[in-house]
Amino acid sequence: MKICGRILGALLLFQVNGIGLAQALPELKNFTLRLQGEPETLDWNKAHTPIENYLMITLMEGLVSLDSVKVEPALAESWKISGDRKTYTFKIRKNAVWSDGVPVTAEDFLTSWKRLLAPETAAAYAYFLFDIEGAEAFNQGKEKDFSKVAVKPLDSKTLQVRLRKPVSHWISIPTHWVTFPLRKDILEKYGDQWAKPGRMVTAGPYLLDRYDLNSQIILKRNPKYYGHQGKVDQITALIVADDTTALQLYQTGKLDFLTDFPILNVKSLSETPGFQIFPYLKTVYLGFSFSPNHPTDAQKWIQNPHLRKAIAMSIDRSKIGEILQGKQSPGATFVPPPLTGSSKNVGITYNPKEALEEFRLSQAPKGIELEILILNWEKTLTLAQFIQSQLKLHLGIQLNLQPYDNKTYRAQLDLHRHPLFLTSWSADYPDPDNFLSIFLSDSGNNRPGWKNSSFDHKILQARQMPSSSQRERLYIEMQRELLDKEVVIVPLYYEPNIALVNPRVRGLKLNPLNYLDIKGVEISETK
């Protein structure tokens, strides 16, 4: 027994001193990040929530990618745009291969885009390809033959796309993961279940190695990747729903990177070495519901532009940064700075006196009760309570908060039951069109349900304008209508991406679309 104890003790010492296996094998460089919940899917045609964002970009690449806000070559080494700005010809890299060694071809893009547009896929982002000739008709089932959609492989390494009209931002579209290529043979073999470890093939810097449901997802370096190999051997994405738990994991060294953490800790964490602020194209806004589906009394009152104006004027947006402590800046235009079309001179400003006058003009009853739909997250609850007190103080409005968890909240947003709601929009591509086009009458992201044909026309008109100054003028004009005249929404604030990065991590890049570039990440030796 004594001998056993000694052997055990010696073994323990052996381990503690770091001699033994740990030193015999080279240390595995692992980068750990956090996912706020279980990804809905890793199928890049279908993934559409911010939770999948980091994984998609790390596993795979598209024709082009975004370095900060500039479009860079990715699987396509070059591209040409025709004189009429309608035809795009992409040249795919000769050395680009899938993780099983099969070359990446133009056919793979065709397979993916056909699937993305197919009505039976029901992909949330199918509309991303609608600018391609024939794509919208194919998605709506009016055209059954995909050969009528203007996506053509000229040879195995050349892909040609023709748009129905010139679109100034279109080159940004193939940066999004929904457009990433897919292999026909893999799809035929596994069907919709292809995005699983052991089945998924990728052409990005990392591979899907392991997926433990509701626990973690592990990615390993892809040795067949055409570009520079990532310096980290393994990426572990821990699924941690609670912000406080995630922060504790970071503080105990179990997480290397974290973006959402309790606001009460921002101030003290801002003095720690890992605290970093990254620019982010995101606008948080208060929306009014225009949908006539559930005409309650409050819904009817909110149709009155004077009441909407009164609400917009009674919220002091300059205080929000101080309350939320996340370096938020007060909102003016819906398009956030530094994008074209953002301006401080558009949008309704805080003016409690005029707010009261507008409230009188609206003839809404004193002490009117309104409901606001919000997420039950700490930050939105705090913000909503601030708005609640501002409306009570300046207008005597009783705002009842309706907080729901993410899934229920999204379902309620689609139902348009609440006259007011709090939500945000962050960019999919760095262009004002991505912000303002959500208010197109037929957009699936048009949360207020506001429809205006002249606004729709202007959006499409701006897309075709080659001159940036002309576009800017039109975007400002559109926002004067959206924010000052119609008061469809009230932009509350713009928010940077506040992150905690373990000081042992170097070279991490997070672009303004919240795309995390892990390729360049280096991990210094642990002591």
């Binding site: 406080t244 205080k319 309350i323 007190s389």
Partner: protein
Amino acid sequence: MRQIFQKQNRFLTFCCLALSLMAGMAVFAPQVTHYSFEEQNISEKLEPPSAKHWMGTDTLGRDLYSRVVYGARLSLLVGFVTAISGLLLGVSVGAIAGYRGGAIDLLLMNLVDFLMIFPSVLMAILLMLLFGRGPLGIILAISITSWLSLARQVRGQVMQAKRFPYVESARAIGASPAAILFKHILPNLLGPILVSLTIQIPNNIMAESLLSFVGLGLAPPYSSWGTLANEGFRGMQTYPHLLIFPSAAIFITILAFNYLGDELRKKSEKRL
């Protein structure tokens, strides 16, 4: 022995005083606070306890002392109302099942068994979704789940008591079943019932805190101790006062009720 008894008595006095203080705070909330529980003063946010704000201020600059005092109203209201309504339901069902026996007993006790299968918090969450958020939803949800064990306990005691000679005598002189149950059996069970009430109140305060803590309780700006603790929990490293005061209120109240219940139980056991 005498010393211990005196010490216990001192603690009992402390518990009674603490409970009276909490109840007093809840009843006279407007008189014992200087600030409104919902008035925001952003320039004074997240201040530590001071002479001006005894328990400091929260993230929107609201006075935490006022919020804890007004929180007592909701927490104690929920605790008392749910315990009493649960008590009425539990005693009635238990007494009827125990006294009548047979098919009715079988039916009622199967119902109790069936409802007991569901974890009480899960059941409360389901009921909250049905009744909606707000004080009424919480009270109904907790009341409905908190009578089950009491019904079983009362049933057992009634079954036992109905064989006692005093019940037989009452039956012999022609008393109706209702009279026997309400005039003779239940008054004798008052001790254990009171004990269970003092245990049920803190349990229900905890249940409310738990529901509020997981974000299913009252909607802001209304706050109970549970919602306050939930808010404070997130910033416990930086602003510990936000967590300490509401948790202390919950802790003291529950400790006092439990100790009081324990003492009452001891006394009623001695009497038996």
